[in-house]
Amino acid sequence: MRTVTEVAECVRETPSTVTLRFEYAPAAEPGQFVMIWFPGDDELPMSLSYTEGTSKGVTIKAMGTTSRNVQSTTPGTRVGIRGPYGNRFDLSPRNILVVGGGSGSAVLAPAAERAARAGARLTVALGATQAPELLFRDRFAKMGARIEIATDDGSEGTKGFVTGVVDRLLQTESFDAVWTCGPEIMMQKVAVAAQPRKVPVFCSVERHMKCALGMCDACALGPLHVCVDGPVFPAERLVPLEEFARSHRDPSGRRVSFGAR
């Protein structure tokens, strides 16, 4: 069953991402996702970027046709919501390295907020193509997090991929856990960097989805179904998979390689 609700607020977060806030009562935990339907257009799986109370939110990056159309959504637009689905981040670690690449911060921010409120120490490594695309930097700053930045073009922070920053942090400091979301190649590098230090890494994974109920197989990733087994996985379950960081499946079920970022 879907609930039809009106978009209450649209917030332009970066040139390529918009947050839609809406009233949706069912309880949700950081890491979970909803299926959000734009009537007349598609229904997309979106991790909740706001999980607290009844005012939920999703933060959508312009990628395909629908997510591009959605960028110009106005308040009052009606959307259908079902969920929340999937698992959540384990919020128990007390000293967390958060690694967000591009729009990956969308799912990390509510988890970090919850952890910060419970007294966890947060270090946030944010990566983006360029400075204006750094998502939720201010939101992480408000949590009292230490923030390290990398941009592909060097317009802010370290020039290059955020994985360089993560390597340095893991070499010089200790953490209880790493939470990461972003391009799979980035998440894989983070997992490999953390492995020798025995820091557990949790990745939020994205796949094409249709049913979100563990039935249709659209989100198959090796033996896993991202919609019900994830979307948050310990890295050791992902790294051995032939498909992780290499390919995903298109809506027909054909394997498609990830382009180099």
Binding site: E43, C211, A218, A220, G222
Partner: protein, 306 residues
Amino acid sequence: MADLAVRLGPLALRNPFLLASGIWGESGESLAGAWRAGAGGVITKSIGERPRLGYPNPTIETYADWGMLNAMGLPNPGMDEYPKEVDVARGAGATVIGSIFGGDAAEFERLARRMEATGVVALELNLSCPHAEGYGTEIGSDPADVKEVVGAVVRAVHIPVIAKITPNTPDAAALAVAAERAGATAISAINTVRALAIDTNLRRPVLAHGLGGLSGPAIKPVGLACVWQIYEKVSVPIIGVGGISNVEDAVEYLMAGARALEVGTAVTHGGIEVFGRLAAGLSARLDELGFASVADAVGVAHSAKA
């Protein structure tokens, strides 16, 4: 312990519970997972000649606990790509049945040969998808068409051919009879029941495609009636499908005349582990009822009818 092994003609299954086509069947690793979870066999997604993206979302509408509506639109990676998925499933030891869909007998025949070559143990012909223009029910509602398609496939391959027929017709038994006469080894009944959901706030159908197919507990009585009527008209084995989510459902289908069973929608509530639970539970329930095997329970309700 009651014997769960069943035979559908020459096809031997370790237990009667088959993964229904369309569920977990796009990837070989998922098929392997269903096999490891205890399925007696796994049926692939329906595969066509070319890759098909399926319909846009929403492709699913869910209901509290009585059913689910879907119009996926036969998404599949296409017959060029699919053999490697079958390889993975077979590599795990799974008994794999290949489901195919075509727009006419010639297309079914071409696909049948190619699916047979992947090493599947049998074919299931999708003559019953209720929501794909030019396929499924559209070519599976007339007994003459069913006979033509099944006949063409049976002549083209050496493995058992199962015809999956539609309930969206006044006389499902006539379709089964046509399939049997054309040489089908078994009949699967039923596919989903054509259905619709409308969002009243939005004044539009919920599914992107509009019409879809209903599955789950709501359609169990419909499936039972079809199996019942088919059992009286054909002598080939019947695979019962539609709303099987617990052991009692399974026993009902056996008593109505089914010899094997397909399970699909129950996976969304019970997880893939539903297969292990059903197999263990069925054995215990057959013991309680005094049946030494699945075969002994098949069709018993017919001898009691008025």
